[in-house]
């Protein structure tokens, strides 16, 4: 990250530091913003029960279920998961548990 970009992401950014016209030059940088702390309920992946059907992968609104290079799902990305529970309701094999965050 360049010095200028670093400045943009800090809370004390001033008008002289921001980009002209409010342009965003790094596509897809919302990944840096962590929405995981919104969660009150948390999905838990039960690896043994998972049949890799990938239904959960498609229905996640937060791109928090990722797949590896072999096309298999891997564990949740808790940095982005907001704990909506759609994956847990959609799983045909009950391979996702939905529990209290704390």
């Amino acid at each position: 990250m360049s010095k200028r970009e670093e400045k943009i992401y800090s809370p004390d950014v001033g008008w002289k530091d921001i980009t002209h016209g409010g342009t965003i030059t790094t596509a897809g940088n919302a990944e840096l913003f962590l929405t995981g702390d919104w969660r009150s309920m948390k999905p838990v992946w039960l690896k043994d029960k998972c049949k890799q059907c990938l239904m959960c992968y498609y229905v996640c609104p937060d791109t928090a279920i990722l797949i590896d290079e072999n096309g298999k799902r891997i564990d949740f990305n808790y940095n982005h998961c907001k704990g909506c529970g759609i994956c847990y309701k959609v799983c045909p094999f009950k391979a996702i548990d939905f529990v209290n965050e704390i």
Binding site: N29, F33, A64, G71, C84, I86, K89
Partner: protein
Amino acid sequence: MAYNFKEVARKPERFTGGHRMCAGCGAPVVIRQILRALKPEDHAVISAATGCLEVSTFLYPYSAWKDSFIHSAFENAAATISGAEAAYNGMRRRGKLDQEGETKFIAFGGDGGTYDIGIQALSGAMERGHDMVYVCYDNGAYMNTGIQRSSATPMFADTTTSPVGRESQGKNQRKKDLTEIMVNHHIPYVAQTAAIGNLKDLYEKAEKAIYTKGPAFLNVLAPCPRGWRYEASDLMQINKLAVDTCFWPLYEVVEGKYTVNYKPKNKLPVVEFLKAQGRFRHLFKKGNEELLDMIQKEVDRRWERLLSLEASN
């Protein structure tokens, strides 16, 4: 090309996490799948009308889009993207572009920015025949500003500007049928879809819309847990009920020819869809049976009409 669920999953993700849509929102699911229909080597230029999607995915200095994105006003997403398309064609004609793959132009709008505020820009862009796709994600009210009624709000839904009380039973008017309006623009491709099952219908329609030369329009159901008042985790169940009750039929119109893509084996009564949502709770009070009946009749009428249009191709 047949829909291979597992192959499609391996296509690059063009919409990242870390956007600020509500937990359980129906729109990002739809957007992810539509963008996945792009070929990996192709580029996209995207614009969104003001709405939940726009204000939550493009908060300075963060963008959840891996493609070019243009921040647009409420009424002119279609005009913005048609202008970008014209500029692109101009530059290519003069040999000023040197890139691999094609560039596709996609506009997203909520129902407020499409059914109501953006309809003149949309109608104009479709009529001018730009090679673009307009996607309306229909959540049935102005959810971004606090659930105000729009012309896409279904009859008798409770919203903050059509509140239920002693004198009112929610929105009095019928839902506008935007898909039909777009069909009557006689553009090459119009479809209505929703994220159901393994999202095959949505993917295939997105692919057709993006790779059909000329203007295309998609109307996609995007349930809103806050505005519709249902449990956030029920998204896929709500989608399924909307389709199985024929409240939201899945169909496409290619060059004026209708195809109904999904005809439920057991058409459920619309009550099943309504009772899953808090915004229709008042309809289940004693004395309101007549209103439920009215909704059922309206749904049936539109469904029958659609079937007869398909039969008369």
